[in-house]
Symmetry: C2
Subunit: 316 residues, 2 copies
């Protein structure tokens, strides 16, 4: 079983308006709501891939109830812990005339220390029967910054950690099996640790930065490079996977699709080159779908054999 953890789960609200006018008054044409947060997106993709998956994390208040309702309707198995605060919403305002999207993210509820302790027990019970645990997204206010390290230590199975900033740097010492920063996130969390070498976007620099996170505790580092594919820095070697063409669409959720592919590959104990191929194809197929957590299944199957995999030199 794959267990996804979303500590700052959200209700993703989408408003369609004609054109957004700063300082103006707008009639909202359509309102869509759906359970969100990166771990929930991973669970949605993994469910669509017919993996056995359970979504957990923290939920509270009326917004938490709406998230649970949507998970039920979407057929995603879930077992979230209750908190007293109200879960956050994210709002995306889409302008129908131009397609431009403006995003407003609420910070999330304050989690009390006793709620975090109760979640650790809840997580331990669920993780005991999970071959793979996925930890995704930001930490809500009130949680310790090393919350992810604590969860990694309590998980007996393989762990994928997909977060950013302090939550990532303080999560890595817990020794997750895989972390999945994108190139920007990687650069931010390794600032000062690797010399630039005059080529900020080069593969060798990315490999060096990833190697420094392996040294800090990460088993393997998957770096998503957007339209350029992904790069895996592992104890078995270094690989790069490149998609055959650029897919145009909504990149939100592409990283979550790659994490879902990674979790499935770990569950099935597939080798790194196969894992990378799957992650890059699924990620591109997610870009082609308009909403985070969805992917285009036909495009996914078409892209799989077209992903180019190449080995790279290991970091010196």
């Amino acid at each position: 079983m794959i267990l996804t953890v979303t500590l700052n789960a959200a209700l993703d609200v989408t408003y369609e308006v004609g054109a957004l006018e700063q300082g103006g008054s707008h009639r909202v044409r359509t309102v869509r709501e759906r359970a969100g947060g990166k771990g929930v997106n991973v669970a949605r993709v993994a469910t669509a891939l017919e993996c056995e998956v359970v979504a957990t994390g923290l939920l509270g208040g009326a917004v938490g109830d709406l998230v649970r309702d949507d998970l039920d309707q979407s057929g995603i198995a879930h077992d979230f812990a209750d908190i007293a605060g109200t879960s956050r919403r994210t709002l995306t305002i889409v302008e129908t005339e131009t397609g431009e999207a403006t995003v407003l993210n609420e910070a999330g509820p304050d989690v009390r220390p006793e709620e975090w302790q109760a979640f650790l027990d809840h997580f331990g019970t669920l993780a005991a029967s999970a071959a793979v645990v996925v930890l995704s997204g930001s930490l809500p206010p009130g949680l310790p910054t090393d919350a992810y390290a604590e969860l990694v230590r309590r998980a007996p199975g393989r762990v994928v950690l997909d977060t950013d900033g302090t939550a990532l740097t303080e999560g890595v010492p817990g020794r997750p099996d895989v972390i999945k920063p994108n190139a920007d996130e990687l650069r931010r969390v390794t600032a000062g640790t690797v010399s630039n070498g005059g080529n900020p976007a080069g593969a060798s620099e990315v490999v060096s930065r990833a190697a420094s996170l392996r040294a800090a505790g990460a088993g393997s580092v998957l770096v998503s490079l957007g339209a350029d594919g992904m790069l895996a820095v592992t104890s078995d070697g270094v690989w790069r996977a490149v998609p055959p063409r650029v897919v145009v669409g909504n990149p939100t959720g592409a990283g979550d699709a790659a994490v879902a592919a990674t979790a499935r590959a770990l569950l099935l104990e597939r080798p790194w080159d196969e894992l990378l191929r799957d992650a890059v194809a699924l990620s591109a197929a997610a870009v082609a779908a308009p909403v985070a957590g969805d992917f285009d299944p036909d495009l996914y199957v078409r892209l799989l054999p077209e992903i180019k995999i190449e080995g790279l030199p290991c970091p010196s």
Copy 2:
């Protein structure tokens, strides 16, 4: 007792952001939520004035529950009818750097015919013990356009109608005792019925337009003129009330405060000049408060004796 009716009640959500950037991603600094809709604002002001008031209307779904929770916490007596649809939200995005406000209004739930019939019974029971009924705001999708006329006919007491467009023009034949358009609304609903006379903002034109709505069924017409005060066109005469100075602030909710003052004056059977004085003072005190439904009580008391009342010639 004053009964306020809000058929399209809302949860008013306010987001504070640093600066709103079209196409950008924003962290919301603070989230505030409160029960809204024009009739709810009237009930809030009337409650603060220590009137006996009950708020009714239609509420549904998780948003409806949040509206009821806020009414409870605000000490506003309420008895809304349930509907299957989810009540709407309004979102105001306030930029802390400039104070500029961008507003997004959801349309509201589709109300089923049987829900409207059930509300008519519910309303009849409540209205039987209400000396004054206040009907405020837009109609949610699914209601007949003459919904307000139907409610006016079923109310044994005095009725104040504060709405716009078709809901107003089709509500007036029900013979409400008072309607309260602002100058723009008055102009829209009487377009073509009154010659312009070369002076679109003049008092005589406003009086003529108001008189045409009296001829269509309204007992008296209170026209709010923003910073210029209010004008009353009644069977007893025509009055204008002018505040001593311009109050700077948030005009949203100023009209609702004027309606609350009107409802109280009808309840206490006060003469029109006193009603106008009270409505203009309370309206200006509401502009000085940052949130619709609130008013500055000290400013209200200070302004009351300073409002200038003058009689105007009756329409020919």
